[in-house]
């Protein structure tokens, strides 16, 4: 029990350390981005020197690095992610408004992809029919060769939801991983021995193959979350869906680094959190 708490503490510490390092990196990117330290209103030639100084001090431009980092991290600790340069709105409010859409699209898409990929890989493992195997491999091979942005345009054209696009993008990768995992489990000596003894295929699959494949499959959960969030950017951007992905794309086009770095930091922490959860589940079962 004590060991378990110790591990949990280590993981929490890791995420906190990651958040601090990530925040410092974000702050550095914002600080050294082209255009930092320049307010457009300063270019107004009618302004006196004191007015310009007042503008600079209002936006805290030209302050020292230590004070800059201090202010940035203090703001983050209080849930203040700064203000979007392009949209002139607090980043926190923008994220709050758009996060539910992306969360729903990513979770539905991932769920659909997992169900389809698992069904397909279990069917190919159970029946070992070469036509099915070739068909599944060819279909997923073709899907994997399509850029995510093309899938996004396909979604717009066919008027299907973003979640389906996320499923289409993650399905082939998930299938290929799962197919390999089940294939590896099926090649284990005890599975071969069970076959030689005439154990039924269903029993081999459910009693021998799935329990072995279970642990790497859990580890795949975290990776798939990262893949789904990555797919959300082009899908939301090109299908004009009001989610975090579209916001990130708009921020990138407008060089809105305070917004972009905050989104990246949040999504990273979220995916690391999912990974940590998957690892914890893995260790619990092992």
């Amino acid at each position: 029990m004590k060991r378990r708490f110790l591990r949990l503490g280590q993981r929490v510490l890791y995420i906190v350390a990651l958040a601090i390092v990530g925040a410092l990196l974000c702050a550095t990117m914002v600080r050294f981005a082209p255009g930092y330290g320049v307010d457009e209103s300063e270019l107004d030639f009618r302004l006196s020197r004191s007015s310009r100084e007042a503008i600079r001090s209002k936006h805290q431009l030209g302050e020292g690095m230590v004070s800059y980092y201090g202010t940035y991290i203090k703001g983050l600790a209080h849930g203040d992610f700064g203000t979007s340069v392009s949209l002139q709105q607090p980043v926190r409010e923008l994220l709050k408004a758009r996060a539910p859409f992306t969360a729903r699209a990513v979770s539905v898409g991932l769920l659909a992809a997992w169900i389809l990929a698992s069904t397909l890989s279990l069917l190919t493992t159970r029946f070992e029919i070469w036509v099915l195997d070739y068909f599944a491999t060819a279909a997923t091979g073709l899907l994997i060769a399509l850029p995510t942005a093309v899938v996004a345009l396909g979604c717009v054209y066919l008027r299907v939801p973003v979640s389906l696009g996320i499923a289409v993008v993650t399905l082939p990768k998930l299938f290929q991983y799962q197919h390999n995992i089940f294939g590896h489990a099926q090649a284990q000596p005890f599975v071969l021995a069970a076959r030689a003894r005439g154990v039924s295929r269903n029993r081999i699959l459910f009693r021998h193959v799935i329990p072995v494949a279970w642990h790497p499959l859990v580890a795949l959960l975290g990776v798939s979350a990262s893949m789904a969030f990555g797919a959300a950017i082009p899908l939301e951007a090109l299908s004009d869906s009001p989610g975090i992905g579209q916001l990130a794309w708009q921020a990138a086009l407008n060089r809105d680094l305070p917004l972009l770095t905050s989104i990246t930091l949040l999504v990273t922490l979220l995916t690391v959190g999912v990974n940590t959860l998957a690892e914890a589940m893995h260790e619990e079962w092992v």
Partner: protein, 272 residues
């Protein structure tokens, strides 16, 4: 097995033709990729313009050829960068072990959890607005190369760790090899098939990522062509439906990526 070998040879042949067309684009077509036939915008295919022209009157066939050159020269360059980083860091982690191994693996795990596209567009957004098209191409592929090493590192590390226990390394240690000599003279040459496999795997990933980035307007900038920014024309569905030959860049891209999936030689396939 025989069928697989035939498929591999076919894919190699197709890739060779595509690469040759890209490399010798200047000899295959007499137009420049940026030259505009202002009197011929959106022209259908003809003897002069094999794939017609785009909205600005530029020859699409020429742009596909030059786009092939850019995508197929820079994606392998980014893959090489990724493989080099993975080889050195993975080799060090596998050979040295201890705290250094833990740090490198933790960094790789963290890098693997990062949503690549979010980080990519953040770094890409750091470039000034007036950046030149050539610099945008180089920056896109350098960033891809610098961020894509983590999954390769895991594979290299596992292979290097196995090698650490081998007689070859024990003998080299007994002969007084320094760590750097062990890495560059023993480990890296022995793991060459692993590196080659990782190199081949990374190329299609980078081609696809560049395509997505460019379609979003965050990759290779006009007037330079790449497969990604050639696909931007797809946003106009009615034009694509009326002029199906505009699908040519997508077909070349998909064909290339599929071929890359089947070109592994036996030893590299084993290493994969």
């Amino acid at each position: 097995m025989k069928g697989r070998r035939a498929l591999r040879m076919l894919c190699r042949g197709v890739l060779l033709v595509i690469v040759a067309l890209g490399v010798f684009a200047g000899s295959v077509t007499r137009f420049s990729y940026a030259f505009q036939f202002r009197e011929l915008p959106n022209a259908p295919p003809s003897a002069l313009h094999l794939l017609g022209t785009d909205q600005l009157g530029r020859d699409v066939f020429t742009r596909v050829l030059y786009g092939t050159r850019i995508s197929l020269l820079l994606a392998p360059a980014a893959a090489l960068l990724t493989t080099c980083i993975a080889a050195i860091l993975g080799g060090i982690a596998g050979l040295r072990g201890g705290w250094l191994e833990k740090i490198i693996l933790a960094t790789a795990d963290l890098s693997m959890s990062l949503p690549l596209l979010f980080v990519l567009i953040s770094l890409r957004a750091l470039l000034p607005l007036d950046v030149s098209p050539v610099l945008s191409v180089v920056a896109t592929f350098v960033v891809l190369g610098l961020l894509g090493w983590s999954s390769s590192l895991r594979v290299v590390w596992a292979a290097a760790r196995n090698l650490r226990q081998s007689e070859q390394i024990l003998l080299a240690r007994a002969l007084g090899y320094r760590n750097s000599q062990l890495l560059f003279r023993q480990t890296i040459p022995s793991l060459r098939p692993v590196f080659l496999a990782q190199f081949w795997i990374s190329i299609p990933v980078f081609i696809l990522t560049e395509a997505t980035l460019s379609m979003l307007g965050l990759g290779v900038m006009e007037p330079l062509p790449s497969w990604g920014n050639l696909l931007r024309g797809f946003e106009d569905f009615s034009a694509v439906a009326a002029n199906p030959w505009r699908l040519a860049p997508l077909l070349v891209l998909v064909l290339t990526v599929i071929c890359f999936q089947f070109v592994f030689p036996e030893s590299e396939e084993f290493a994969r």
